[in-house]
């Protein structure tokens, strides 16, 4: 993907498969999902509920709630959710 966020440190964590909107991706197990999504080229995560503007992770520390997306059917903060093998991620928020 063009102009993705790039990994600059070789991770010593095991890579696992997750599913993002039907696409198979690999990510280090235990990494915050928001980080894995950035590295996989998913910068936009959802739309704002009122004006439907595109949004992505902003604070990466659990404050802004911009990364609140569906994981295994529940809305979670992607920056606070560690990657697990087989996770099913949907890039949409409350709407």
């Amino acid at each position: 993907m063009v102009s993705a966020f790039t990994r600059i440190v070789a991770s010593h964590h095991a890579l696992v498969h997750i599913n993002v909107d039907g696409v198979d991706c690999v990510a280090p197990a235990g990494e915050p999902l928001a980080t894995s999504l950035l590295a996989a080229g998913y910068v936009m995560l959802r739309h704002s509920p009122n004006r439907h503007n595109p949004r992505g992770a902003f604070c990466l520390m659990g404050v802004c709630q911009e990364c609140a997306i569906h994981v295994d059917g529940q809305i979670v903060q992607a920056c606070m959710t560690p990657v697990r093998a087989g996770m099913v991620v949907q890039l949409r928020g409350a709407v």
Binding site: S3, T6, E31, L45, G56, F58, M61, G62
Partner: protein
């Protein structure tokens, strides 16, 4: 419903420098301590534990200090309760948590709150676009996860974090395309003398400057982002000059194509817990905003409630460590574990160190202070409240329609009512309201804090609830 675990003398909320040191100090002085943090490891943001690489792999001084303190914590008798979100704190002092195993409740007679700060970003049109992120987020990507923004990224904002992030990424071969610095060289020089007391930091600062200069990153001093553009992601930004107060002024604007932007304008103390408990608050512009009123040991107006670290006023990591020591000693003293003589003796050195560091922490806090003139320059169509998409013009309209304090503003516009609970917009929204009415910040107030402190699902909050567990209060006497 589970009854609270009561086997601690003191609970410490927040595992950053202030929380770690206070927990260790209190435990060394005979208190049984529970240390609670949302992350899976202690360190907070400044000492955030490296995740991607092995802990030894990262070379910054903060990483070394953080590892040292994590080692001390591991050797202490502090019980670490990590990976748990605090969703409620109530009287004397009951703390409700949500972790991987569901809800848990702890209760202790003493509570030390060290929950840190969050970032202030002065809004501009387009700051909600994906790819625009906070400076603190950039440091997390750099320090903890080894992730670099795409090649064409810009760095904007104010303060030492700007230099730290620029230098950090430059050294990894990913320098920003441009640095847009709200302050000018004279502001940086003005902060220099205060560095004299901190030779280690001075060296680090010189290292940052060398990295930035040798990477030939263009720096736009006294400039700010005017707007960001893009469809589903930022693709360009427009920058323009500002005066010494941060106010937008006439002058050539420059467009920069970019795929990402990291931007931050300082820190706001995250004082929700003391506020929720009803501790007296005071607005201190030079310390970042609303903070609980505290004595030098972090004692708030409520008995056995202590507030320390950046959440009690922005002073940085070094001061936070000393504040942690002082609060840990005070808790031990107030709980009767050490006598007045030992307390005075042990705290004397920390108090002296605190005074020595204040020149530096004051200078840094001054650099990242809120600039009211910058807020006055925010465009009418800029979104202020990201959660509810409330713009500056919406806030101004509400102020003109009669909203006088921030809680009225919230009811008029829904600003601050979304899932971030006003953490992202509170400081700027209050400033806009105050300016609109020509009032001071004290007069427009702060959001009323309400549980849950973090959005959590009702299901997880209830846990294994049983109707028989619901307490039925005695009817009031007639």
């Amino acid at each position: 419903m589970v009854s609270p675990h009561c086997h601690f003398d003191v609970l410490v909320l927040g595992g950053g420098p202030a929380g770690m040191v206070s927990a260790i100090t209190a435990s060394q002085n005979g208190l049984r301590v529970g240390l609670i943090d949302e992350q899976s490891e202690a360190g907070g943001q400044i000492w955030r534990a490296p995740w991607a690489s092995s802990p030894q792999g990262y070379e910054s001084p903060e990483a070394r200090d953080g590892n040292k303190m994590r080692d001390r914590l591991a050797l202490s008798s502090v019980t670490c309760l990590f990976g748990r979100r605090i969703w409620s704190v109530t009287d004397r002092y009951r703390v409700d948590l949500l972790g991987a195993d569901g809800v848990e409740t702890f209760q202790a007679p003493h509570l030390i709150v060290a929950l840190g700060a969050h970032e202030r970003v002065i809004p501009f049109p387009g700051w909600t676009l994906p790819g625009v992120m906070g400076l603190a987020a950039a440091t997390i990507m750099l320090k903890a996860h080894g992730l670099a923004p795409p090649k064409d990224w810009v760095l904007a904002g104010v303060g030492p974090l700007l230099a730290a992030v620029a230098a950090g990424y430059a050294r990894k071969g990913h320098p920003p395309k441009a640095i847009i610095d709200l302050s000018g060289p004279s502001d940086w020089f003005a902060a220099l003398p205060s560095l004299a007391s901190r030779p280690g930091l001075f060296k680090q600062g010189v290292g940052w400057v060398l990295s930035i200069v040798s990477s030939r990153i263009p720096i736009y001093f006294r400039h700010a982002i005017r707007r960001a553009e893009g469809q589903d992601r930022i693709s360009a930004c427009l920058i323009g000059p500002v005066d010494a107060d941060g106010k937008s002024i006439d002058g050539p604007e420059v467009g920069i194509a970019c795929d990402a932007m990291m931007v931050g304008n300082g820190l706001v103390p995250g004082g929700e817990v003391p506020r929720l408990l009803g501790a007296d608050q005071v607005y201190r512009h030079e310390l970042g905003g609303w903070i609980p009123e505290c004595d030098p040991f972090g004692r708030t107006s409520l008995e056995h409630l202590y507030a320390i670290g950046d959440g009690a006023g922005i002073r940085g990591g070094a001061v936070a460590c000393i504040a942690g020591k002082l609060a840990g000693l005070a808790a031990a003293h107030d709980a009767g574990r050490i006598d007045a003589g030992a307390f005075a003796h042990q705290s004397a050195q920390a108090l002296a160190e605190h005074r020595k560091l204040s020149a530096f922490s004051d200078a840094m806090a001054h650099m990242i202070r809120l600039r009211p003139a910058q807020v006055a320059s925010i465009e009418a169509d800029a979104v202020i409240c990201r959660c509810e998409d409330v713009t500056r013009q919406d806030l101004v309209a509400a102020a003109r329609a009669g909203a006088r304090d921030v809680n009225q503003l919230k009811h008029f516009t829904r600003c601050g009512m979304g899932p971030c609970q006003g953490r992202m917009c509170g400081d700027v929204a209050a400033e806009i309201l105050a300016q609109e009415h020509r009032l001071d910040r004290q007069a427009v107030g702060y959001w009323t804090a309400r549980p849950p402190l973090r959005p959590i699902s009702l299901q997880s909050m209830l846990g294994r609830v049983d109707y028989a567990d619901i307490p039925i209060p005695k009817p009031a006497p007639l």
